[in-house]
């Protein structure tokens, strides 16, 4: 595995990625940002779910229909996935930044979105190899929805549930550790 392999794999990997979910969610976020800016309204739960949907779309980009065919190539799955994330991230980050600039305050901070994405990637890393990554892609949506729905419960459970929003870098660190531990799977 070397840099030349990664460089040469970048273009075909770009073509192999299913972009439709990311494009759809990106368009939705832009539309939401525009509406909120026009109405001068505060970012609400819809925007939180929009951000979670973006995280889900990023995780979904790991879905590779040809994965069984590529299962025994010397370029490890973790490297192929990191490449996919880098490619979709190169599109998602500017889009995220654009929407963030449209909103007042820190309505769409980057760190919570990263925390949700990293959690989904960690789940994808530890899924049984035959399991579709769609399960992992649902994790950001599920977590953000649960926080919105049960956010008022308070206590230890409530704190833990909101951790992706309150301590996003810790969540990123733990998820990153889980990915690193599962890199040989």
């Amino acid at each position: 595995m070397n840099a030349t392999t990664l460089r040469q794999a970048a273009y075909p990997t770009t073509r192999a990625i299913t972009w439709a979910p990311l494009v759809a969610v990106g368009g939705l976020l832009l539309a939401l940002g525009t509406v909120l800016r026009l109405l001068d309204g505060p970012p609400g739960p819809v925007l939180v779910l929009g951000a979670a949907a973006m995280a889900a779309a990023l995780v979904f980009s790991l879905r590779d229909p040809a994965a069984p065919l590529l299962a025994a190539v010397p370029t490890p799955l973790i490297v192929r996935r990191v490449l996919r994330l880098a490619l979709v991230g190169a599109v998602a980050l500017p889009l995220w930044g654009l929407v963030a600039t449209m909103l007042p305050g820190d309505g769409l901070a980057l760190a919570p979105g990263l925390a949700l994405t990293a959690t989904g990637v960690a789940v994808a890393t530890w899924l049984p190899i035959d399991r579709d990554v769609s399960v992992a892609a649902a994790v950001p949506l599920f977590w953000a929805s649960a926080t919105e729905l049960l956010g008022g419960v308070g206590g230890v459970a409530g704190d833990a549930l909101a951790r992706w929003a309150t301590d996003p870098w810790w969540v990123v660190a733990v998820a990153g550790l889980l990915v690193a531990l599962g890199r040989h799977r």
Partner: protein, 293 residues
């Protein structure tokens, strides 16, 4: 514990001891021992026999629960050795999905990149060579979504053949191929076997007879038989007979195209014994081991 030695006397490319893999409470592969050298080895068995699970472990895709595995002299449980094995391995999974918007040339080239072949000119030549070998020379620049199922299967096979791997693991490679394409596949795999080891699973006993030097019959994760195709055929020697009426005492019976009944089992006195085929040997083996009667 079931033991198989399918070596042709040359260096063994695959050595397996006590290999076990379970899915929940079900043992897909059960304490299997296996040693395989160069040549074509066919895996026969009913659905659920554990063929695919075994092949996935031999392709380094699936880790066993217990047991040791040596492939091309390396241990796939060690990440660095697994990478080295994968550099020398070709794998065709069962009914693989491909990228519909790619052409066969683009897909095989992509797989070659992921197999760490960084020389573009070599890659192009090699992709063209393997696609030509599987009979897709005139389709290599056509989108995969426009190809038939058999052609897609051949694209995946071409990807497995990249770089003349020393160990080729093929899960039902003849699926979706017409008789002429099957013939071409046999020639292709025979040529590959001259350079290394080809392990393939199939439901087709004719394929085994025509292609394989050794055959392994599996059932419920265990090995029922190992030997040459001729030895598998001889399992049914003296135990096949044909009559105009069905014999209730036979282990298995079916009506032939000629309208007579072919029976497997212990022939009654006076029955005319027929020459056995590999099919007879396989079916008799399966019936003897508690398979469908």
């Amino acid at each position: 514990m079931s033991t198989v030695t399918a070596s042709t006397g040359l260096a063994r490319t695959v050595e397996v001891t006590g290999l076990t893999k379970s899915y929940g409470a079900r043992r897909a592969v059960d304490a299997l021992d296996l040693a395989v050298g160069p040549g074509v080895v066919g895996l026969l068995g009913p659905n659920g026999a554990g063929k695919t699970t075994l092949l996935r472990m031999l392709a380094t895709v699936l880790a066993p629960d217990t047991g040791t595995l040596s492939l091309l002299g390396g241990d796939p449980a060690v990440p660095s050795q697994r990478l080295e094995i994968r550099r020398r391995l070709g794998y065709l999974p069962q009914s693989p999905s491909l990228y519909p918007s790619f052409t066969p040339m683009e897909l095989v080239d992509y797989v070659a990149v992921l197999k760490e072949h960084t020389d573009r000119d070599w890659r192009r030549r090699e992709a063209a060579r393997v696609l030509e070998a599987v009979g897709l020379a005139d389709r290599m620049h056509q989108k995969i979504k426009t190809l038939s199922g058999g052609m897609r299967q051949r694209v995946a096979l071409a990807a497995a053949l990249l770089g003349d791997p020393e160990l080729l693991v093929l899960d039902e490679p003849a699926t979706g191929l017409d008789p002429e394409q099957r013939l071409e596949l046999r020639a292709l795999l025979s040529a590959s076997a001259r350079r290394g080891t080809v392990l393939l699973s199939t439901h087709n006993t004719t394929e085994v007879a025509a292609l394989c030097q050794r055959v392994i019959v599996m059932r419920t994760g265990r090995v029922l038989f190992h030997g040459t195709p001729a030895e598998l055929r001889d399992v049914a020697a003296g135990r096949v007979w044909e009559e105009t009426e069905q014999d209730a005492g036979a282990r298995r019976s079916w009506m032939t195209a000629e309208g007579t009944w072919r029976h497997l089992g212990d022939p009654p006195a006076g029955a005319t014994v027929a020459a056995p085929t590999i099919d007879d040997g396989y079916l008799l083996l399966a019936a003897t081991d508690g398979g469908p009667r």
